[in-house]
Symmetry: D2
Subunit: 221 residues, 4 copies
């Protein structure tokens, strides 16, 4: 279970730390691995203060050097982060850049989570042999209508096509996941985990929402 903090004010700076602490507790209670994908400027403080893995939301492929304003995979690694999202619908990459980023994160020792917006791009991403592929139809992001309910065939088709190309990659699904039940139905459809954001980050009771999802997932396994 990856919780994407995006650039929400509710998951930025000191609030990012508070939410990460909550999610650390959820992992402890349920045994479900919880990962936070935080803003670049929060990677260092979060990595210092929580034990669950902290991931970046994006890295650039450029090697360290004269690349003002870019996010070097090495710098993300040095900050204490252990992985990164790549190609999220809100931060799309060129095909060739994405392939390079997957290779570079592997070299640097970061776990790569490549996001795909539909079945065909999920299959394409699997060809890059990242650690994780996350299927997220952007038209459902933030809607509260979970992909596992609204478009279950996207999940099952993506799993089938990814598995034709790549036997090992971990498959997550996301977009619109808002209730505990959405999480377990995602697993039922063949996903191995979920990518969730506003449902947790913007909840009045962040702990309860995350805990319910994680419990539902732990029941499944």
């Amino acid at each position: 279970m990856i919780v994407n903090f995006k650039t929400y004010s509710e998951a930025s700076g000191t609030k990012a730390l508070a939410l990460s602490k909550i999610l650390e507790g959820v992992q402890r209670e349920t045994g479900i691995q919880v990962i936070v994908a935080a803003q670049t400027s929060d990677l260092f403080p979060l990595s210092q203060h929580v034990e669950i893995p902290v991931y970046a939301q994006h890295v650039d492929p450029q090697p360290q050097g004269g690349h003002t304003g870019h996010i070097a995979p090495e710098a993300v690694k040095e900050s204490g982060a252990r992985g990164t999202l790549l190609n999220h619908s809100e931060r799309r990459l060129e095909l060739a850049t994405l392939e390079e980023c997957v290779r570079r994160t592997g070299v640097v020792g970061l776990t790569s989570v490549v996001c795909a917006n539909n079945v065909a791009t999920a299959a394409a991403c699997a060809a890059f042999e990242p650690d994780i592929v996350a299927v997220e139809p952007p038209e459902l992001i933030g809607t509260g209508r979970a992909v596992s309910k609204a478009k279950p065939e996207v999940v099952t088709d993506a799993v089938a096509r990814i598995r034709d190309i790549n036997k090992k990659v971990v498959i997550l699904c996301g977009a619109g996941i808002s209730e505990a039940h959405d999480a377990s139905s995602a697993l039922n459809l063949g996903a191995q985990g979920i990518l969730v954001s506003s449902a947790v980050v913007k909840a009045t009771d962040q702990r309860k929402v995350a805990l319910d999802m994680a419990r539902e997932m732990s029941r499944f396994t």
Copy 2:
């Protein structure tokens, strides 16, 4: 004097902190204001540990929210940074985005340093009323041939055209500045400060190079 750390390994993570400490010392010794422009992931730790201003190298204009992988001005501010470079030749922005970034950094309370690649773009940038305009011909960046020597007319023309449009903006110049003398000749041509990178960051004796430049500048004022 702004020292741009780019994504150089010599100015990343713990080395970024060491170099910032050195530059803090240079400011103390010479009275010349020294600012470091650091990688996003280093903004928090540097701001915690040095008293000289820490700037970002880039921000995105999107408001806080569903913008995975972007660098929100608010997050940069929260990390302790006090300003940001914008539109560096290695991280160019669309005209409309740049104008929005200048406005947004103003609202958030970050000092804006807009980089321009030639005289005409420097004039255009001045129309956005940023705090600082830095003129840097990209063809000289990293060459060791200082703009103030190789193309002095770029500095004088930029100063003239910027002043026609904007009386208040602080004007820096950069690109190829590698010796102490380059710094003072930049001031002689009408610049109010310099933007320097590899000459300091990649120096065997970082302190000596920075100190010599700052001393030369302090003599000038």
Copy 3:
């Protein structure tokens, strides 16, 4: 008066030719200069068959050579076009690229029409010394609420700030212009012409809408 054909099906291929012929008639009847900004693939056939100027909607700055998929200013010129829009809100350019495009179109002999989304960017564009600046707030494009009515201060402020920087550039305004009266009120506010699109292109009676606008403009002058 520039009519932007965008990629509307009503102004593409043979329909682009029919509409251009209509607009040629409008120019003849009213004496108001009418220019069409057509899709790249239509530049050649339109230039062959109508006498009013045909402009492109975008060019890239790359010199002729190994630049697959780009639109070279030289190729646009060779196709018979006489100018080009640049930096339209639907096709924004990086600041440095825009400045280069303005210079390159000048060298090649194309008239440059730089679009700006607000007052500050209009002032910045004027610093590049293009032939024409067109001010178009994107939030009004296609709304039917004319900039000259909904935000008259955008036009007057843009005219004032542009004139501070550049005495010669021709100033157009656009966005939401849908009635003849919008055209004359634009001129009243200090614009020297208008940039119009859907109001003409998608009209049931394209000729009538364009003719009414042109007549209103000719009455003004």
Copy 4:
């Protein structure tokens, strides 16, 4: 055999027409299918005057409408072109945009030729089910060192990985192909055709170079 005209002045405007006529002759003489990938502004006149297929070098995915400065697949089709390159190394596309472009060209009735810069991206592109995949390592483009000689394993590996994912797609290879022998060695390695540019376009005797390549290919089949 696809000849990419890029934005070379030797293959622009009237010279594009002359070269297309020559290549039409080469096809007639050898029976090898020759396709020209021309600049957008040349699509209409070339399609009018030669019988060999004319392809675009790039299209955008946006539907027809308010998309100033974009290249609509429908407009390319209307101009008489029968296909398009996509994602050339000199005009890279975001992963999600590329997938959309492949679908859109299919709907509109244009043949899609997706270019890939290495083995992994070639495999990914095959997942989109385009008509043609062209493998072109950009580090060899324009060097005169043919991919089929300098990096034969790129061709064989790409063919193997593409065929695992997609049985039907036509596979071309390109980059550095400059002699007739390079063309046949490409076919020997499993490619079904070649993508060539400067070797033909910039040749003193364009006809001879193209004819030799086509003859060598016809001998192979």
